[in-house]
């Protein structure tokens, strides 16, 4: 879906090579992760299991190659902990509310489709935000645009004037993702973008 401007063949080749180099650096992380999954699945870390996992991971990477993602951030343990804790809490609240609605005598559902302009740049952050927004109370991501970094949320129960609250809530979720994965500069830029949007 990405539209690229015209490039000379040399530039294209260079981009291609850079991408491929980056891809291989990320492949290492992917292979390690897949091996870890295999070891966890087996429940032991005997050398044979690890070797089998490595072979399977390489096989998976070879059969289903993925493009490298552009990611300038770093994992932040504290932010990650906050993210997971908040996610479990949100999941509990959302499930409780939905079960109340499901069992109520006359479920009152006034839904709406709200546009969420994101403050961050980066596919990883957009996907992460979309994922946790589907988990947090009352919303499911229906559509997403990459060019404008926009998400469209279906909100289960809302009033027309609550659209701005939904946007604020979604931005807090986005900031939680950024505090878990992004670099300082990206967090600052996103917060600034949110402030400017809020003033408008």
């Amino acid at each position: 879906m990405m539209s690229e401007e015209k490039r000379t063949p040399g530039e294209v080749m260079h981009r291609h090579r850079t991408r491929r180099r980056m891809a291989w650096r990320h492949q290492g992380v992917n292979v390690a992760f897949l091996t870890l999954v295999w070891v966890m699945l087996n429940g032991n870390a005997w050398p044979l299991t690890v070797v089998t996992g490595l072979v399977l991971a390489l096989l998976v990477m070879w059969v289903f190659p993925l493009p490298a993602i552009q990611w300038q951030g770093r994992p932040r343990p504290l932010g990650l902990l906050m993210l997971v804790g908040r996610l479990l809490f949100d999941l509990a609240v959302a499930s409780f509310r939905l079960s109340v609605t499901a069992f109520s005598r006359n479920p009152r559902i006034r839904s709406g489709m709200v546009r969420i302009p994101l403050g961050s740049q980066g596919d990883l952050y957009q996907v992460g935000t979309a994922s946790i927004l589907t988990i947090v109370p009352g919303s499911v991501v229906v559509d997403a645009r990459r060019k404008t970094r926009t998400l469209y949320l279906h909100v289960l129960d809302m009033e027309p004037e609550e659209a701005q609250d939904v946007v604020e809530e979604a931005r807090r979720a986005e900031m939680r993702i950024l505090r878990a994965f992004a670099s300082n500069a990206e967090i600052r830029d996103a917060a600034q973008a949110h402030d400017e949007e809020g003033v408008r």
Partner: protein
Amino acid sequence: MSGADPIIQLIAAMLLVLGCFFCLSAAVGLLRFPDVITRLHAATKPQVFGLVLILSAIGLRLWSWESTCLVVLVAGFQVLTAPVSAHMVSRTAYRLGLWNANEAVIDELAEDLEDAGYTHPPEDDEPGGNLPAGRRWRTAAVPARPRRDRG
């Protein structure tokens, strides 16, 4: 402390019952909610949460590294994949008009789709069974769609 400890057993049993309750409410929501997208709310959240509770009960009851690893994996992948499938289904449902658009309090996606050149097909234009044609979305002819609106 181990999985045989009565207190741990009690907590595990309570988690199991709670988890089953949330799975049940997901099923009830699936049956009772009015359209595809609201039903997806029920299919994602209480379902995932119920499963997480049941898995933690299993982890407590078995009380071993092997089972804990497995349980963490299952829960993690469930949390990662449920939003993706929900998104794919709801996106398709939206564009096929399979939701209560007339009862929605606000629909900003429709505004943006119209800006991007999407239109509603006229009635009885396409064979769609009993799908509501008036709410379906059709991609505009390619030249009419500005490039900057893609993605």
